[in-house]
Amino acid sequence: MTVTEETTAASTRVIGQRLLRKEDPVLLTGEAVFTNDMKVPGALYMAVLRSPYAHANILSVDKAAAEAMPGVNAVYSGADLAELWANPMPCAWPVTEDMKNPAHYPIASDKVHYVGDGVAVVLADTDAIAHDAIEAIDVQYEALEAVIDLEDALSDRVVIHEDLGTNSSYTWPLLIEEEEGQVQRSLDDAAFSVNERYVQQRLIPMAMEPRAVVAVPQPFGGDMTLYTATQIPHVLKVMIAVTLGFPEHQLRVVAPAVGGGFGAKLNVYAEELLCLALAQKHGGPVRWNETRAENTVATTHGRGQIQNIELAADADGKLTAIRVRLIADMGGYLQLLTPGVPVLGAFLYAGVYDLPKAYDFSCTGVFTTMTPTDAYRGAGRPEATYAIERAMDALAREVGIDPLELRRRNFIATDKYPYEAFTGLVYDSADHDKAAVIAEEMVDYAGLREKQATQNVDGATKRLGVGVSTYFEMCGLAPSRVLASLNYSAGGWEAATVRILPTSKVQVVTGTSPHGQGHETAFSMIVADKLGIDPADVDVLHSDTTIAPLGMDTYGSRSMPVGGVAIGMACDQVIDKAKQIAAHQMEANADDLEFSGGVFSVAGSPDKEMPLAAIAFEAFTAHDLPDGLEPNLEAQVTYDPPNFSWPFGTHMCVVEVDTETGDVEVLKYAAVDDCGNQVNPMIVEGQVHGGVIQGMAQALFEGAAYDSHGNLQTTTLTEYLVPGAGDVPPISLGHSVTPSPTNDLGVKGVGEAGTIGSTPAVINAVVDALSGLGVTDVTMPASPQNVWNAIQSAQSNTSANGGQQ
């Protein structure tokens, strides 16, 4: 029996149930339409010729052979299309006043800055012909030197954008000290300190659906509809209008079914602008889809940082100061949020720990001749959590205590919440110790440490390791004023309309844009509880800027704490309005009305009641409404959250490392996550599972590899190692519920939390397994080769030091 078969009686609360997803049937039967599934008669197929050089001047583009091929409609170079662009491609986050942003157009005219940078475009009758034709275009390049190492980029030995004069785009500082010089003094006077260097390797998001675009001019009036595999239809609409000079009111952007985003579909892409501009130019539909190989170079990458973190602690291991220096890899250009991603993590390098005002953070973003980076699940926060959680383990080894014990000494105490941190940000609610206790029990932490002591003896082939990660996540993007203070070019509000139709069915219009997160189901549940109706009677409309004109889309774990909350508020307003109609028609005082199970009743008059369904019809006919009240029963709310939301948790990972081969086996993974109230626990669990495995994949499997010429070597799923079911363990989930005081629903968001907690837990486990051999660090991914290298190098250091570690 499925949950949907239960009747929603007045007392049956829907929120908290494991309601099966409304989204599933069409996805399970193959009826769902992803962008490249669309049948578009008469469409021209676009293919993009991409630079094989990481850094080169374009000398000439010879289109003649391609133009002559049968079935080819047009061939364009960057120079041919220059007049189409009113403005360069947008970067919506100029993090500093003096940030350097090189002009970036959808097709390069003079110079290319990464392998994959588009240099010419073909329009043809079929996809096959378009791809055959791009191979016939003859482009002459003058190759320049590639820059792929971040420290080399920082040195400006080879300047990538000559007009900028440097490869440094910006330096963003965050220095918070009670007294000047406190951080340096604390480091100098520390009883214990660590100075760690980590590399956050470049990752390829690899959503299973490669990107696709279809631009369709409407029959008359010059209107245009853009179908695209995007997470951000609303933001895209605004940015397209600005970049193309296209009248915004004539543009409709639709995200059909989208096969995963993870931040890589949170962007304004050249192909979207090209399809739209060329559809306009040619007066007919233009479509494009990427192959997987193309996706690996033409879609944004994630992470890419060199991190230096120093912790100072007193004799008890309590933190007294933190200093962080980041070099962040921008890639060849700044895409929509590229410079801001590392900055999003700037506030989290103290993690869940009670730090006095002694925090010195600085990030320098540098250009390299590789694919631009941008948001990728967690966007800056996994990187921050990795650094502090790895450093805490290093500090624990210095202090000589158990890593969990060190963390406990530093946790922000539960009774301090809501807690104003040294940054001035207010962390809404948490109970770090509670999450840690649950995790400890799940893995039998004490038992594991005992087992470890007996197993990890000299000469043991397989060594046991336990890794801990206690984390915060800063999400629910975001309070618009805070975004303003960070120089982010957009706001963080979300819009919701709740509309009760005359026959009592409910339409919810949300500005979020789901791509697998189950919003239709979860939002229906909120409305069902508020209005006392069956979630099956609620239709959630989204991802189409004509149907849902207002929105700030989906990323940053914002859809529930901002979008869901907005929907709840709109429900409240609908109920308020309905109450006034009910009071008027029942000739009662609005204050005497109670609303429960979808029915208004009058306290003390059991025979006087009016169901919402009846009120909806009354609102529609408008035959008897109170004076001054407008007909129809709907409310629209735009909600600007007053704060970020702060999910938290403890993850523990148990590994066994084969010291002869370097192979790491994850024996057990326990994730305890607190995202406040859980609307649909089944969906929450799914988000944590997926997030944990993605973070584990960064730890053990993935990495975008480049050769010295700037060629991406991992351009397929045989080389870039997204793990399969046989490569990862089942996940044990625990949770606590510490409702957010920031919003009425008490929700925090959970889309990225799993990824944030997991990577450091896994690497901490590997290092823990091998620390007895003198290993203190393993390069990510902790591949068998990298682990074996770490063991070899620690052993040779040990023997070089005459056996001392």
Binding site: H131, E660, L721, P723, G726, P784, W788, N789
Partner: protein, 274 residues
């Protein structure tokens, strides 16, 4: 990606297939299951102008005992090699190795003949059949000939099959109760081996094949002669890299491969002798 254009013909018999390939010359290729060839064609690393489809020559799909050998038709699918009772009884190392080729979908289309003829040193079956002392039967315009596995592999993706020859059968000596072990060390379950060892041991006799340790599958003769001379598994395994010439790639350096070969060979010998 879409392969480059080619012409397609389907052969109704082995003789017709050989005649067709002779006709169309060296720009033509046989296709059976297609799971070695099509991935290359989709990346345009192979661009044959004619494909001769031999995938329906069902009379070349068989597994039968033949005296002290087992004869396997070249068009036998990996899943059938894996599940064959005859092979589980008489050549269990091969049945087991076939179950590790690719993934289940691949195993339902790919054939043992296709895999052998493709001559990829990183594939499991070339090294396994080499270790088992296999003989491959080839048919050409001038009749059939037998090629010892030790004479078959020339270099990456090149065998001693002539352009107009087709593999028809793989003949393997029965293992007669030998112990065996298949050590496939990879990053993900669906991946090729970073290094693989396919080994059998019976008393002092053994056969050890190395996967992905050179431009061809490697018969670790040094290991076998050490074992025959009374060396321990550990000491014999030290010879593993002697006959090998491993390459470096994204997954492993030369040095790491050499180290892995020794570790996995030792583990294989220990398991096979247990």
């Amino acid at each position: 990606m879409i392969p480059a254009a080619f012409d397609y013909v389907r052969a109704e018999s082995a003789e017709e297939a050989i005649s067709l390939i002779g006709q169309h010359g060296d720009e033509s290729k046989f296709i059976a299951g297609g799971h070695s060839l099509l991935p290359l064609m989709k990346l345009r690393l192979a661009q044959p102008s004619v494909l001769i489809d031999i995938g329906r020559l069902d009379d070349l799909s068989y597994i039968r005992e033949d005296g002290d050998q087992v004869a396997i038709g070249a068009l036998t699918k990996h899943c059938d090699v894996e599940s064959s009772d005859t092979l589980k009884q008489h050549v269990p190392l091969l049945a087991h190795a076939a179950g590790h080729v690719g993934d289940p979908q691949v195993r339902r289309r790919g054939t043992i003949g296709g895999s052998i003829a493709h001559a990829d040193p990183a594939s499991d079956l070339p090294a396994t059949t080499l270790a088992l002392g296999a003989t491959y039967v080839a048919q050409g315009p001038n009749g059939t000939r037998e090629i010892a596995a030790t004479d078959f592999y020339q270099t990456f993706f090149e065998s001693s099959l002539a352009d107009d020859e087709m593999l028809t059968e793989i003949r393997i000596p029965k293992m007669n109760g030998a112990g065996w072990s298949f050590q496939k060390f990879n990053r993900r379950a669906q991946d090729w081996a970073i290094v693989g060892v396919s080994a059998w041991v019976r008393g002092t006799e053994s056969g050890v094949g190395l996967v992905n340790m050179a431009s061809t599958p490697v018969l670790a003769a040094g290991v076998s002669s050490a074992l025959a001379g009374g060396a321990s598994a550990s000491d014999a395994a030290e010879q593993a890299s002697a006959d090998a010439d491993p390459q470096a790639d994204l997954n492993a350096s030369v040095e790491y491969r050499q180290h892995l070969a020794k570790v996995l060979t030792r583990r294989a010998l220990e398991a096979a002798s247990a």
